[in-house]
């Protein structure tokens, strides 16, 4: 239908008006889809079970020979329930969190493409940029929910099993419960922000393929390979820029005077990954042919 050879020229209707709040509507629909999806709910429940399981194990064994032992912050949990939040995040960071977040963000676009729903969204029409941003928001909210699922059950289980008291910091100083709670909240926020780079990576992979499992696996592999490279002293030159290198820097909040330099550096690395892979995802998705 070229304009030159149309028989009766169609009446040119006024350009359809863009309604206010339209983007919020799109994002709400996306969140309903992401958070209503049974698989994602199961992932969140699975993550929430980690602190519960850890708490129960530590509670049962606390009078045994292994009391007060364990890597990271596990040894401190029995003394103060607040540390169950920290210990659980510490346990979930290397694998479980990246896995769950990789699944949700890798599925974002590729899932729609494989189901064929992507073409119907695009002919609605929804702008590709707008769709990508709403998908990114959905994936980021899921990542936040994943971190919160661990943190909140950790808090509740920790308080119920071990009680909450004044917090002894890494330096040995003791601070009040209120201060301790604030510090734990800061840890949770830092861990949540640490996931943003991974979400962007997942989103980018998701725009490359119509096979969601491929995008999910590739995303998780990036997190794991980053962790492995971080272990090689020969590569210390690039350690600072690795996706996972600063993830455990949340411990900074457990020092008497957290070093803002360390924290800012960790967040800056995430921002860089977010920017690079967000741009790549944008470049790819706004120009790709949708033929599924």
């Amino acid at each position: 239908m070229s304009p030159a050879d149309s028989h009766a020229p169609l009446p040119a209707p006024a350009e359809p008006a863009r309604r206010r709040g339209a983007f919020a509507r799109t994002v709400r629909a996306e969140l309903r889809l992401v958070l209503g999806r049974r698989r994602n709910v199961v992932l969140l429940i699975g993550l929430a079970l980690v602190p519960l399981l850890l708490g129960v194990v530590l509670y049962v064994t606390q009078s045994g020979a292994f009391a007060g032992q364990g890597p990271g912050f596990i040894g401190r949990v029995t003394g103060n329930g607040l540390f169950l939040v920290i210990a659980s995040l510490f346990l979930c960071l290397p694998f479980l969190l990246p896995l769950c977040i990789g699944i949700a963000s890798g599925d974002a676009i590729a899932g729609e493409a494989s189901a064929g729903t992507l073409r119907y969204l695009l002919v609605v029409p929804v702008g590709r940029g707008r769709l990508l941003v709403s998908k990114a928001i959905g994936a980021l909210v899921f990542a936040a929910c994943a971190v919160l699922a661990v943190a909140l059950t950790g808090l509740v289980a920790g308080a119920a099993l071990f009680g909450v008291g004044d917090v002894t910091l890494l330096s040995g100083t003791t601070v009040s419960v209120g201060d301790g709670l604030l510090r734990v909240a800061a840890v949770v926020v830092y861990v949540g922000l640490s996931m943003t780079g991974l979400v962007a990576v997942g989103l980018f992979f998701s725009t490359l393929t119509e096979v969601p499992v491929g995008a999910m696996a590739a995303t998780v592999v990036v997190a794991i390979v980053s962790g492995v490279l971080d272990q090689l002293p020969q590569l210390s030159a690039i350690h600072g820029g690795l996706l996972t290198h600063h993830w455990l820097d949340f411990a900074e909040f457990l020092r008497l005077e957290p070093d803002p330099g360390v924290l800012v550096q960790g967040l800056a690395v995430q921002a860089a990954w977010l920017l690079v892979f967000g741009s790549l995802a944008w470049a790819r998705f706004t120009t790709a042919d949708v033929s599924s």
Binding site: M1, F23, A29, L33, T117, Y120, G127, D289
Partner: protein, 303 residues
């Protein structure tokens, strides 16, 4: 894909035909802005695609390559989700629009069921409902009766006619010739990335000329053939106890007026000659014959 100008007059039902792999779906994808042409441009409703997609696509309802929806959402929730992505739609009227669309495709009773429990026919209906979620100027329906039972096929045909009657233009791609023949006012035939022919359906069918078949008692065959030949028809043959002859039209236009020799004159001549006319038949080529003639009999997928 080369120079395809689908002329779809407003209010027409345009049947878009072509063998598998001829480029029908690719054309539709380009028109809808899903695929960018490797070279050149695509125009839809007089606007360039995909650049004008935000302005044009709200006026276009599409069913492309079968229905696809979120399997875990109900039919209704799927419509709501699609509408939530439309920046120009009014959320306040959504409930009524969704109900109307579901009602029109006969899916109201199953609206609350999850999509994955739908039969193929129900999925197809939901796809149509999505295309009808708001008033459209153009409906692009790619194989809309795929997977439907005869009842559903009839309903879709009915729906398409009804839509055309209310002023919507319908572009219907199908490989079911009978279906196109029954609903479409216009036809375009595509093969190997080229549009071979298009125009009003009747003209296309008439363009190939008509065949006249005369049945008379066996002993009068020769006499009848003589009369037919003298009346000006060409290619007179006696086959299977019948006289066959062709009357080629002058140019592609419809109606008997364009025939060189009006069939009525032939029958009158036969009667006048005192022959016992047992049967007189004017055969127009079916769309299928036109189609096969243009695209070939072959079974291979076009490259």
């Amino acid at each position: 894909m080369d120079g395809i100008g689908l002329e779809v007059p407003q209010g027409a039902v345009y049947g878009f035909l072509g063998p598998n792999g001829s480029g029908k779906t690719t054309t539709i994808r380009m028109l809808l802005g899903l695929v960018r042409p490797t070279a050149g441009a695509a125009w839809l409703l007089g606007e360039p695609m995909p650049d004008a997609a935000p302005q044009v696509l709200p006026r276009v309802g599409a069913l492309v390559e079968g229905p696809a929806f979120q399997p875990y959402l109900s039919g209704r929730a799927n419509l709501v989700r699609l509408d939530a992505h439309d920046v120009t739609s009014d959320p306040r009227t959504l409930r009524r629009r969704a109900d109307d669309a579901l009602e029109r495709v006969g899916l109201a009773a199953a609206a609350a069921k999850p999509y994955r429990q739908y039969s193929l026919g129900m999925k197809q209906r939901l796809g149509l409902a999505a295309a009808l979620l708001r008033p459209r100027d153009l409906l692009v329906l790619d194989e809309p009766t795929n997977g439907l039972d005869p009842q559903g096929t009839r309903e879709v045909r009915h729906l398409v006619r009804e839509l055309a009657d209310t002023g919507a233009t319908v572009l219907l791609s199908s490989h079911l010739l009978a279906e196109i023949e029954q609903v479409c006012t216009h036809v375009g035939i595509m093969s190997r990335g080229r549009l071979l022919v298009q125009g009003p359906r009747d003209e296309l069918a008439a363009a190939d000329g008509v065949e006249i078949v005369v049945t008379v008692p066996a002993d009068q065959l020769a006499a009848a053939a003589g009369v037919v030949a003298r009346s000006g028809l060409g290619d007179v043959q006696v086959v299977d106890g019948r006289v066959r002859a062709r009357s080629d039209t002058v140019g592609p236009s419809s109606g008997d007026a364009a025939l060189e020799v009006p069939p009525g004159r032939v029958s009158a001549a036969l009667v006048h000659a005192g022959l016992d006319l047992l049967g007189f038949e004017v055969r127009r080529p079916t769309l299928e014959q036109v189609f096969v003639q243009l695209t070939g009999e072959g079974f291979d997928v076009a490259r």
